[in-house]
């Protein structure tokens, strides 16, 4: 099911919020209906310091919790017990030990998120938040479970909370930049974590809608365990050489018109030579609030699809990459009935419908890939369905992706009223797309 589209722009003082979260920091951007672009919340008023350290500190002997920079400060002063790695711990389902006490990791994560939102609440009242988008590096089932549980504790209505990966945030961010910046391909080098990740966004402009793809690459070679240390010159020179090769790998033989460098890992100016290469014939930007802003754009799209985004469909990792449907008869005419559409996050869509099987015990599902490849039919056989008079088997069908490339179908026999009693027999099958 998809959120019913409302006229976001028509409602005054309504805000879309993007929340970027990882083990190192959180970042909050917001987009009000009157604004032309999102704004990022500064941790220090008037500054461009956006990162909120993902940390909590419980003060010794009292039930008082600090978050972010204050948490680090309190722990440094020996006045409390620091808790970090909140997201990883929640994913792992660990118990968080703070002194003698143990806490559920998801609850601790939720506490951090709630406290960090106090910064936003200085600018935006919680009731103004129309949609809340959490963005993380990667989304999988466990991550979705954890984020859903944490979000539930934020006192926001569930229907307002969404999730997207960094790749999708990058996509949404780019789509709203001046067209010349991504007339061709756009690259992003993210060194905000302990290692480097590279992304490249490209678009097939020959289709309608235009299809946007993302390639990603991990570079564990660049391990960042401490802050930049100018005394380790030789070490950084090697990084510079390695990064130059990475740039070569990501730009050779292609037209990459724009590149972004984000993350504290690029601090200190170590990438002098590689930057020269990167800046050749392209525009390069350095910043660190791209994901949270991209999350804001993504959030706004949930409420009201912009004219720009209507022209594109993004096939990121979490997206369904095929249209799923069935050929059916509706009021006597054979039609293609769409069940699940490509381009939507697999975890955000499901479809239910009721059909009547005219005869036999099987039917076909049509899978039409958007990424090339031939359409295919998947036959669903309902073993053991009793033989009945023509068109007296009503079925409740439910289609639900269990992964981005795997669909579960559930069929339930509803019989045919008083004419044919329902057996309520259920068949369940999964197929790859």
């Amino acid at each position: 099911m998809q959120l019913e589209k409302k006229d976001f722009l028509g409602k005054k003082n309504r805000v879309a919020v993007g929340y970027d979260l990882n083990d190192e920091y959180a970042q909050i951007s917001f987009f009000s209906s009157e604004a032309r672009e999102p704004e990022t919340v500064s941790v220090v008023t008037g500054s461009q310091l956006y990162n909120i350290p993902t940390a909590l500190c419980k003060r010794n002997e009292v039930n008082q919790w600090f978050y972010g920079k204050e948490a680090l400060k309190t722990a440094e002063a020996g006045e409390g017990i620091l808790v970090t790695g909140l997201l990883s711990k929640a994913i792992a389902g660990e118990e968080v030990k703070v002194g003698e006490e143990s806490f559920d990791a998801v609850a601790v994560l939720a506490l951090f998120m709630k406290r960090s939102l106090a910064l936003l609440n200085l600018i935006v009242h919680p009731d103004q938040i129309a949609v809340f988008m959490i963005t993380v590096k990667e989304l999988d089932q466990r991550m979705l479970e954890v984020l859903s549980q944490a979000a539930a504790a934020l006192s926001l209505k569930n229907s307002q909370v969404f999730f997207q990966s960094h790749t999708e945030s990058f996509y949404h961010y780019m789509v709203h930049q001046p067209k010349e910046l991504w007339q061709h391909q756009a690259a992003l080098f993210d060194f905000s974590g302990s290692s480097m990740t590279a992304y490249r966004l490209e678009c097939n402009r020959h289709t309608t809608p235009m299809v946007a793809f993302m390639e990603t690459g991990e570079y564990p070679y660049f391990i960042r365990s401490t802050e930049y240390n100018a005394e380790e010159a030789e070490h950084y020179q090697e990084w510079d050489r390695q990064f130059e090769q990475v740039v070569e790998e990501w730009t050779q033989g292609r037209i990459v018109s724009t590149a972004f460098l984000i993350g504290e890992g690029f601090d200190g100016g170590w990438c002098r030579e590689s930057l020269k290469k990167l800046c050749r014939n392209r525009r390069v930007f350095q910043g660190n609030n791209l994901y949270s802003k991209g999350a804001c754009y993504g959030a706004r799209e949930k409420l009201s699809e912009s004219d720009i985004e209507k022209q594109y469909v993004f096939l990121g990792k979490e997206k369904l990459k095929a249209n799923i449907g069935m050929r059916m008869f509706r009021r006597g005419e054979e039609v293609y009935f769409a069940l699940l559409d490509a381009g939507y996050n697999w975890f955000e869509v499901r479809k239910e419908c009721e059909v009547i099987l005219e005869s036999g015990n099987s039917f076909d599902i049509l899978v039409t890939p958007l990424t090339g490849g031939n359409p295919k039919s998947v036959e669903i056989v309902l073993e053991g369905l009793p033989r009945r008079e023509r068109a007296t088997t009503r079925l409740l069908l439910m289609f639900e992706p269990v992964l981005e490339n795997r669909i579960r179908i559930r069929a339930e026999d509803l019989g045919f009223g008083e004419i044919v009693p329902a057996t309520h027999q259920i068949w369940q099958e999964e197929f790859e797309i």
């Binding site: 009547i356 068109a391 009503r394 509803l414």
Partner: protein
């Protein structure tokens, strides 16, 4: 792979009861099913605003309900109303819908008993003899002796028994109807049933005892000879001749296979008709 029909509207919490049929529908598709199977029982009482309200509120079929409500307001016929409902829904096949249309046109102005007889006749025409006989017997119990409809029912019961190859009972019925009505066709039917029942010698002896049947007998023999000469060219005749030719051509395998299939088909058909 089966055809799949997309359901219209939703299943109702509260069903709609069709009083004349005595059954309930929980969806518009079930409604159409019941209409198709029992159209002979429907009359102008079916043209009820409660039905269109049910379609709108319970099935959430606002457009269909609005169309049908408009038809009710303008005083449409039962046939037009049902035609619209069935075609708009397209749950029944076009052949079924046309069959219903014909039935409704034919039944306009019939009484309740006549409608039931029409249904029983329909069963006979479709080889569902046992069901037909049950319906005829129920009707006879409800009708007064001497009503004209009774004789027609008894004649059709004779036809049903003949279909079941119970020619003795068929003959009795046809004779009974003749004795009350004096219709010559009944004598021919009686003689035909006798001919099928009795061995030739016995048949000849029996009919010779009734010289007043001579004319009818001659007419029957003429028709019998004609039917017999036309049979080889009929579809059934051609099929059987094809099977026989297999044996004549020495093609034993095909002969026994096809013969077996044909006999199995006849048995299956007989069993179905006896249900």
């Amino acid at each position: 792979m089966s055809r799949v029909l997309l359901c219209m509207g939703k299943q109702a919490e509260q069903p709609y009861r069709i009083e004349k049929i005595g059954l309930q529908a929980y969806s518009v598709e079930e409604l159409c099913f019941l209409i198709c199977r029992n159209a002979y029982l429907l009359d102008e009482d079916f043209l009820d605003k409660k039905l269109t309200d049910w379609l709108k509120k319970e099935c959430e079929l606002e457009t269909l309900a609005k169309t049908l409500q408009g038809m009710l307001r303008s005083g449409c016929s039962l046939a037009d109303f049902i035609r619209t409902l069935l075609w708009e829904t397209a749950y029944c096949t076009p052949e079924e819908i046309r069959s219903v249309e014909e039935l409704l046109e034919k039944n306009a102005g019939l009484s309740g008993s006549e409608r039931k007889k029409v249904h029983a006749d329909y069963l006979v025409q479709n080889g569902r003899y046992t069901e037909a006989l049950r319906e005829y017997e129920t009707l006879l119990e409800q009708l007064e002796d001497g009503e004209p409809l009774c004789l027609r029912i008894q004649h059709n019961m004779g036809v049903a028994f003949a279909g079941m190859q119970q020619f003795h009972k068929a003959a009795e019925l046809f004779l009974g109807v003749y004795e009350k009505s004096g219709e010559r066709d009944e004598i021919e039917a009686y003689l035909a049933a006798l001919r099928m029942e009795l061995p030739e010698e016995e048949y000849v002896r029996k009919v010779s005892e009734r010289p007043e049947y001579t004319e009818a007998l001659m007419e029957l023999e003429k028709r019998y000879a004609q039917a017999r000469s036309q049979w080889p060219a009929s579809r059934t005749g051609e099929e059987w001749n094809r099977i026989i030719r297999n044996r004549q051509n020495g093609n034993s395998r095909d002969y026994y296979e096809n013969m077996g299939a044909a006999i199995a088909g006849l048995k299956e058909s007989y069993r179905k008709n006896m249900m």
